[in-house]
Chain length 353, copies 2
């Protein structure tokens, strides 16, 4: 039986549209699901031409879809016509916040045959296969803060991290549930409770309290600075990590790097309550310097489409996509670099087969 | 000619006193300087016995010294009698803030013969020798913030990052000065200007403005998440990094890890205006699990003492310490692990020689 889904597609900026095209190719190829796509032209180019970032009417339309596939958002760095953060705040973060994507899911795995920046002695410590559950709707990402005396020697700027028991508890429960369903059943809280004591207290308390419902899950804690050390020296120690929005941003880029590059790092911005569509996107950015040249690796976008399939209940199709990627990666060592579309074609045909 | 200096010594917790003893051994060994030491018994044990963290009278006494040598601060994790952050806030951060240590200097170098977690392909990219200038007196470390409805499902906690043009400009100028004096003359600002737009604007503006006084220094910018990627995949790209207090905390632990472990990572909390003594300490923590066992590597503490010598104008003695460490590290590969004191002895005798 084939189910049909309506998905909103936001290719975005730079390499975003290219890699998204390959992810769509793969979604078209797998059995059991068909996709009715609505493409939204959003991002730097639209803003520069029209001054619009994410009109409310577009957001309303997007809400009517079953899921969102996003490429990457962000203009050319230093473009004087693009105030820093305008697109990030107005488009990407607005979608995450308005659609209540409180679980930002970022799996990290070293796939067989993939080169990593780590020494053999580190890789020998064990299989690397963990997932970061990054909070997606609060922390230092709320845009709370401000400035006075801008541009003068007396300027003062604040950034306020907002942390609520409501917001922390729900993401912590999600992380415990995921940890309980994995073979190692281990959850690591990453924070900086010795300095950010107010926020840290909420996180520590809720990990302790929710943990009582999951006695089978072993819990530990790492300061974010120590977590980066382990990501570089013993990434196999991690199973499920739960962390705040900013720490999650930082450690998932590092996690992507140590597991073979953010060309392979997928993510889901998930609304587990399904009150709005979830959004799937590669962890990498828009890389304007290589845009339009068919040089970008679409694998992260394709793996993100796999997470989308999983979220929509197509577990077999999701497993096919992951298997197709694993096979393609294992075959890669032989040839030289392929074009973006060639990688997409190869994975799509494996996923279809 | 020999100069005598008064130094305040705070061994602190865990392995702190052990590694500090070795650093003192090396300071005693080098020519040209003698040290009159005042030891202050501060840290978890004193707090647990007396309830005192850093009495004002002690702080006043400490101010009367030429420099401070600190081991490590922090009790046993999860000790119910030690509220999280109490020692960090009350002792370590209080010293940094009260003594206006606005330059937190953290050099990173891959010393010859030292094993790193990085693959040969990464190491082949070039020599790794950079320094992070971490802001030390503001950002998310001010303790600004609070909580309401603590312990309830309605708890809300904030953490406020405070950023002033005054505070940012002075550390940025210090970083430019250091960059200008190095052969590569390159400065990288690390921040998250696309999300933390208010603070980011101050940092970006002042790097631009102060940079006009240093036309010979090449400037670039990395988001903190991207910076962690480069630290793992191409650390040779960095020369001088300037960054905020929290980002600096995170990336310097990672920098320590990728350059051979934080057993080697030194730091100086520097007051460049010399209105109060600067403080020198290893980047690593108190590691209570191995305390008192002579297992800790004192090299980071010894290199920190080298930074102290440099700060007090003993550039030759400082160079001796670094050379002694380099020689000792190169000789290490042969034998098995040595005791903390044995490492100190070996480096001290090379530095004296
Ligand atoms: C583009 C930026 C706003 C975003 C973030 O910081 O969340 C990105 O780095 C990510 O990790 O998805
Ligand atoms: C102990 C802690 C407060 C401290 C910090 O966060 O600055 C430490 O991690 C460091 O880097 O010196």
């Amino acid at each position: 039986m084939t189910t049909s889904h309506r998905i909103a597609v936001i290719g975005g900026d730079g390499i975003g549209p290219e890699v998204t095209a390959e992810a769509l190719k793969v979604l078209e190829a797998v059995p059991d699901a068909t996709f009715e796509q609505t493409h939204y032209d959003l991002g730097a180019e639209r803003y520069l031409m029209t001054g619009e970032v994410l009109p409310d009417t577009v957001l309303d339309e997007v809400r009517g879809h079953d899921a969102i596939l996003l490429g990457a958002v962000g203009g050319r760095p230093g473009d004087p016509n693009l105030p820093p953060g305008l697109l990030e705040r107005g488009l990407l973060l607005r979608l995450r916040f308005e659609l209540d994507h409180y679980v930002n899911l970022r799996p990290s795995r070293i796939f067989p045959g993939v080169a990593t920046p780590l020494a053999d002695s580190v890789l020998a410590k064990g299989e690397v296969d963990f997932v970061v559950v990054r909070e997606g709707t609060e922390g230092p990402y709320t845009g709370n803060g401000g400035s006075v005396r801008v541009g003068t020697p007396h300027e003062v700027a604040t950034e306020v991290s907002l942390n609520t028991a409501y917001g922390v508890e729900r993401v912590v429960r999600d992380a415990f549930t995921r940890a309980g369903a994995r073979p190692r059943r281990r959850l690591t809280l990453v924070h900086k409770t010795n300095v950010l004591t107010h926020a840290g207290a909420v996180w520590s308390r809720l990990v302790r309290e929710v943990g009582e419902e999951f006695p089978q899950v072993e819990v530990d804690y790492l300061h974010v600075d120590a977590a980066t050390i382990f990501l570089a020296t013993d990434p196999a120690r991690f199973d499920v990590v739960v962390t705040d929005n900013l720490f999650g941003d930082i450690i998932t880029d590092l996690a992507g790097a140590v597991t073979g590059g953010i060309g392979l790092a997928a993510s889901g911005n998930i609304n587990p309550d399904r009150t709005a569509p979830s959004m799937f996107e590669p962890v990498h950015g828009s890389a304007p310097d290589i845009a339009g040249q068919q040089k970008a690796d679409p694998t992260a976008a394709i793996l993100s489409a796999g997470l989308l399939l999983d979220h929509l209940g197509h577990h077999d199709a999701a497993a096919r996509v992951e298997r197709a990627v694993v096979e393609d990666l294992a075959a890669r060592t032989a040839g030289g670099p392929r074009q973006t579309a060639a990688v997409g074609d190869a994975i799509a045909s494996r996923a279809a087969g």
